[in-house]
């Protein structure tokens, strides 16, 4: 799509990026961030550039399942990592048009306005729900001793854990409702799956 192809030299390198289950071979300028490689080279523009400084969270995506700021890492350093962008969060097995439960909740609860921070918010929220389920504490967690019983994913927990993702439109209350709803729905689903397995 983008025609500019820096000639391989001391300032460029050939890499293979694993994005949303697909391999992409490309030659990138060593200065190219993962964010720019996705946007300008692979036409995956769902990941947004809000500040290019790691201060706003708009470029959040999942690297090996964990949320990560794509503006703060070089594309050449992302080789061999499993990268999931907003275009891939619904899963490779998802039917055409099927949404991830967090995407669905953002849609239903109007968890956005202009939509520019939304891909980052959604990627962050997916990871927040998983981090909480895995017992990772946050600054809002009451008891952080090892082995402490799990605490519910309260609105306060969600707000604390989502604070790296700015929304200038101020849609925070809708976002928190959407994340809480998706987390509950996921918990219900997990319990049902466990029951079915038992």
């Amino acid at each position: 799509m983008i025609t500019s192809d820096p000639t391989a030299s001391q300032t460029a390198g050939a890499i293979i990026l694993h994005v949303n289950g697909e391999k992409h071979a490309l030659t990138v300028d060593h200065r190219t961030t993962l964010l720019d490689a996705l946007r300008e080279r692979l036409d995956l523009t769902g990941t947004k550039k809000g500040c290019d400084h790691g201060q706003c969270g708009a470029c959040t995506l999942l690297v090996d399942g964990r949320r990560s700021l794509s503006c703060l890492q070089l594309a050449v350093a992302a080789e061999g990592r499993e990268i999931t962008t907003i275009e891939g969060v619904a899963g490779q097995g998802a039917d055409e048009g099927e949404l991830h439960p967090v995407q669905q909740a953002f849609l239903e609860f109007d968890g956005f306005q202009c939509g520019y921070c939304t891909p980052g918010q959604i990627c962050s929220a997916i990871a927040v729900i998983e981090e909480h389920a895995a017992g990772w504490p946050s600054a809002a967690t009451g008891d952080v001793h090892p082995g402490a019983p799990p605490e519910p994913l309260t609105p306060e927990e969600i707000r604390e854990r989502m604070s790296g993702n700015l929304c200038r439109c101020g849609a925070y209350t809708s976002i928190v409702r959407a994340v809480a709803h998706a987390a509950e729905a996921g918990a219900v689903r997990d319990a049902r799956d466990e029951e079915a397995a038992a």
Partner: protein, 706 residues
């Protein structure tokens, strides 16, 4: 033709956004997301002095860098005309005159554009460009005491006055005389300004992130001396604007480079560059004097404001205007003055004038309530005017009292102990506060086209913008109701200047202005179809222009209103202020789509939290530059700053509007910071008259004598 007549109208029912699926899947293409073959990238170079001249630009080395295609600056850039009449006859932002001469009027002024094959190469070129300056002494020192402040009419008159202020104060049993300041604040929409320009078949095509495509297209035609029909601007999705996304240097630079290189060029501002190129809200220094009878009835309302502008533009922040609507008094004086400094040019920012002005006026009203021993809500009820305080015009739908009454009931205001500093919860002092809100409601002439198709579907075309407001969805509802069909049958196309002139997403007048144009076209189309009109293969189209209809409006005071309530917790040890809950009760016309309207009103209140506690751009007087011009140095409210915020509304159909609507984009900001500041007083007993209410200011307030 078969159409399904809905049994109920869509108006007033919550509907998710038309483009919602695209936005949650990353499929929505914002300006910088649209790929083009042969796209080149431009990177702006900004001045590093606050005043002076460019002595030399040595671009030879940069032009020789890998991938660099051009370096444009005042010595070689195409000429533009920056003296044309823009929106409402006003002069365009001065950065449209970038690269025209060697003058540097402020720090961060655009001095060059480096264009290259890739973004990395363009940025490296811009970083490497050596610009030599002849610096001159600059002055960026804004203060209330500036002797060179002068009165100037902006979008509203500088001064409106009646009665004898001094005599009124002498006759008043209670007098409040207080000074307030608000800092320089920046819009910071999440999507940085970006434009891609290219020539196609002799026409200039511009993909751009803006608040009004037809406005930008008209301005670009004037600036570059092109016939109006030769410029087309498209803005399908826009990542926020808040007043900052008008005609600015990114479009000008992209057009220049595309014209020089004859290939598509994209220019995006960096976040840091936005702090000097995208406009901002001026700092204000305000003085409010209130004189009242013992029961709080106002005899005097005097509100003066000073704001700053640049040396190359006269922009006035009309901060004293709120009092012209909210309260009457025998002696009534509101005035705005401005100081010209060597700073970037300020512009309208969400609730211009009203946001900083309501902080001062509504804080002063709270002080008056305290002095009179009157409940703050009762004080507002007591001072409700019968007609426009200065205009004498009747109010078209004034429901401020209903907002206070219903808001007070839901917030639990009746149980409030008025005494400050008597509620404790561990280390926290608790308090509640309230404030009134108002914002003008109007509509501007616009054009629209509505087309019926043989399959029973319809297309609406209007150069509207959806910057996150939900306007695309609201207009679908409006059109569907006028056509008496289901919203799903209506496709709304916006963000394209080819659809003809239309008002922009601004002034809280977007949806109302666009609805004034869409409604009659849709109604006429419905009537024609009902009379058996044939639908040709290319559709049956009715066009409309609301100019004549709006010119026939009776003069009246048209505004939205609101009552803001806030509960805060203040830690007097650390100075931390937490807003625990807020309730905003609004009278903002009939609500088209409750889901998105509530979101927008709450978003405005989040801006109030941000303004009250966080936002402050600090200008270094030695360099004339901002300190920490990024989203770490300039804090906007984050998730953790926003707890329970609720917005709702009272029934408030707008008289005279075809569908009874006003606007919801800005009213949520107004009064919110005052309600928080008043709650901080109620918690601590200390009045904070300077925003933001930073921890150090709270701590200093704990020991005023230290």
């Amino acid at each position: 033709m078969t159409t399904t007549l809905p049994t109920t109208t869509a108006f007033g029912t919550s509907r998710t956004r038309v483009e919602g699926r695209e936005k949650v899947t990353g499929a929505a293409r914002y300006t910088g997301d649209i790929p083009l073959t042969g796209l080149a990238h431009g990177s702006l170079v900004l001045s590093t002095i606050a005043r002076g001249r460019i002595r030399a630009i040595d671009d030879a080395a940069v032009r020789a860098m890998p991938g660099v295609l051009a370096a444009l600056h005042h010595l070689n850039a195409p000429r533009v005309d920056g003296d044309y009449a823009s929106l409402m006859g006003m002069a365009p932002d001065p950065t449209v005159r970038a690269f025209q001469d060697d003058r540097v009027p402020h720090w961060g002024w655009p001095v060059a554009l480096v264009v290259a094959e890739t973004p990395e190469q363009a940025r490296a070129g811009a970083d490497a460009l050596v610009v030599e300056y002849a610096a001159e002494a600059h002055d960026t020192a804004f203060s209330a005491e500036r002797a060179d402040a002068y009165g100037v009419d902006g979008v509203v008159p500088a001064t409106l006055a009646k009665g004898d202020e001094d005599a009124g104060l002498a006759a008043s049993a209670v007098v409040v005389d207080a000074s307030y300041t608000t800092p320089e604040e920046h819009h910071n929409p999440m999507e940085p300004h970006a434009a891609t320009a290219y020539w196609q078949d002799g026409r200039l095509e511009v993909l751009d992130s803006n608040q009004g495509a037809s406005w930008v297209a008209e301005d670009l035609a004037k600036a570059f001396g092109l016939a109006p029909g030769l410029v087309r601007v498209r803005s399908e999705h826009v990542g926020g604007g808040f007043g900052s996304k008008g005609v600015r240097v990114h479009q000008i630079a992209a057009v220049m480079a595309a014209t020089e290189l004859r290939r598509p060029v994209r220019v995006a501002m960096t976040r840091r560059q936005m702090f000097s190129l995208a406009g901002y809200r001026s700092p204000t220094a305000q003085r409010v004097r209130l004189g009242a009878d013992p029961d709080g009835r106002l005899r005097v309302l005097s509100h003066g404001s000073v704001s700053q502008t640049s040396s190359v533009y006269e922009f006035v922040e009309p901060a004293a205007a709120a009092g012209r609507v909210l309260y009457d008094a025998d002696a009534h004086r509101t005035s705005a003055r401005v100081v010209r400094l060597d700073v970037p040019t300020p512009t309208s920012m969400r609730a211009p004038g009203m946001a900083p002005g309501s902080f001062a006026l509504e804080s002063a009203l709270d002080e008056l309530a305290e002095r009179c021993g009157t409940d703050p809500v009762a004080l507002r009820l007591r001072n409700e005017p019968a007609a426009g305080p200065l205009s004498g015009l009747p109010f078209a739908g004034r429901n401020l009292l209903a907002c206070f009454e219903e808001g007070a009931r839901r917030f639990g205001w009746a149980d409030r102990d008025p005494r400050p500093r008597v509620r404790r919860e561990g280390r926290w002092l608790l308090g509640t506060g309230t404030a009134a809100a108002t914002f003008h409601a109007f509509a501007v002439p616009s054009t629209a086209a509505v087309t019926a198709w043989a399959d029973g579907t319809f297309t609406v075309r209007i150069a509207a913008a959806d910057i996150g407001t939900g306007s695309r969805t609201a207009l679908q509802i409006v059109a569907a109701d006028a056509l008496r069909v289901a919203p799903e049958q209506v496709d709304v196309r916006i963000g394209d200047s080819a659809f003809g002139p239309a008002w922009l997403a601004g002034g809280s007048a977007g949806t109302s202005s666009w609805a004034w144009a869409i409604t009659p076209a849709a109604e006429e189309l419905r009537e024609r179809l009902a009379l058996g009109a044939d639908i040709p293969a290319d559709g049956l189209t009715v066009r409309s222009d609301s100019t004549a209809a709006l010119a026939g409006q009776e003069p009246a005071e048209r505004h939205s209103y609101g009552a803001q309530f806030a509960e805060v917790a203040v830690d007097p040890g650390t100075g931390e202020v937490r807003v625990r809950r807020m309730l905003g009760m609004f009278a903002a016309g009939r609500i088209v789509n409750p889901l998105t309207a509530r979101n927008q009103l709450v978003g405005g209140m989040v801006w109030g939290v941000s303004m009250a506690l966080h936002e402050e751009a600090v200008r270094d007087r030695a360099s004339g530059a901002l300190v920490g011009a990024d989203l770490a140095g300039y804090h906007v409210a984050s998730h953790a700053d926003v707890a329970h915020i609720e917005a709702d509304w009272v029934d408030d159909p707008m008289p005279g509007d075809p569908i009874g609507i006003k606007g919801v984009g800005e009213i949520g900001v107004v009064g919110a910071a005052a309600a928080i500041a008043n709650a901080v007083w109620h918690a601590t007993g200390v009045r904070h008259r300077q925003l933001p209410i930073r921890p150090d200011r709270v701590i200093a307030g704990e020991s005023p004598d230290a």
